[in-house]
Structures are given as C-alpha cells and as structure tokens.
Amino acid sequence: FIYCLTTGIYMLDAWERYVFNSCLILVLSMSFYTAYAFL
C-alpha cells in the first residue's frame, strides 16, 4: 500500500500497475544479473 502510494501507481488501474511492476521486476533482475556478470 505504501509502495503504491509513494510511486504514485495508486492512481493507476490494475492492469497498469501489473505492467509497471513487471517492468520494474524485469529491470531489477537484469540489473542484478548484469552486476553479477560484470562484477
């Protein structure tokens, strides 16, 4: 609930929140992978 409020996705519809969260998880996992691969 606080996460939705702080990122502002509280205002978005359910499908938009789903898209946003998927992108965010994708980006974070790729970042961790790349950080692991590079480091």
Binding site: V27, M30, S31, Y33, T34, A35, A37
Partner: protein, 130 residues
C-alpha cells in the same frame, strides 16, 4: 522547471534509464551510452519542443496556448538558470557517450545528430520560430 526538485529528478531519471540500458546483457557499453543519449534527446525534444499549451486552463486568455514548454519557461526570458541547466545536460551526455563509445564513427554521427536535435531548438535565435 526552476525547482531544484525537478532538476534532481531529471538527473535521477536519466541515470536510472542509463542503468536500465546498461543492465541489458545484449547491449555493449557504447550501445548503452548511445541509446541513453538518443532516448534522452528524443524524449526531451518531444516533451520540451513539441507539446504546446499548459496541462490546465490558465487565465491568460490563451497567451501560452501555442507556446512550447521551452518557450513558456520563465515566461520566455532567455539565459536563465533553468535554461542553462537544460542546455548543458545534452552536451554532458554527448561527451560521455562519445567517450564511452571510443569515438567510433557510427556512434559519433548518431550522437552528434542527437546533440543538434537537443541544442538547436533551445537557441535564443529560434525562440518562437516554427
């Protein structure tokens, strides 16, 4: 556009975008930097130089209805701090992108085109020019 908050946000979003591109394993560093420069240049061009009017009704009898964001900044006064800041960032990005792409010719051309796309509309001589 004058508030330090939006400058910090703008820098954070640009850096975050670069990290996203950098974390895609199939992009090399130079492609990631050039893409950052391209996405940033095109995005800022669309937002600053194509969108016209204001997101809400103003009581200025439509004075700013046909002005772009950049022309409305500081009510058209040139060489303000905000304008200097938003002119400097594309140049910094261009220098970084050229450096990290090791001045490879193709990247250099792309980055230079994007730099011109970012700087030309911001010149005082082109204020209000269509």
């Amino acid at each position: 556009w004058n508030s330090p908050g939006i400058w910090v946000t703008y820098a954070l979003l640009t850096a975050f975008m670069h990290l996203v591109l950098l974390s895609m394993p199939w992009f090399t560093t130079s492609v990631a930097w050039t893409l950052t420069n391209v996405v940033h240049g095109v995005g800022m061009y669309l937002f600053l130089h194509t969108i016209k009017g204001t997101p809400f009704e103003t009581s200025d009898q439509g004075k700013y209805r046909y002005s772009t964001h950049w022309e409305q900044m500081d009510s058209g006064t040139q060489f303000t701090a905000a304008r200097k800041f938003f002119m400097t960032t594309p140049i910094v990005l261009y220098i970084l992108a050229s450096f990290y792409s090791k001045y490879e010719f193709t990247h250099f051309v792309i980055n230079t085109i994007i730099l011109l796309l970012s700087l030309l509309p911001k010149l005082p001589q082109l204020h209000g020019v269509r």
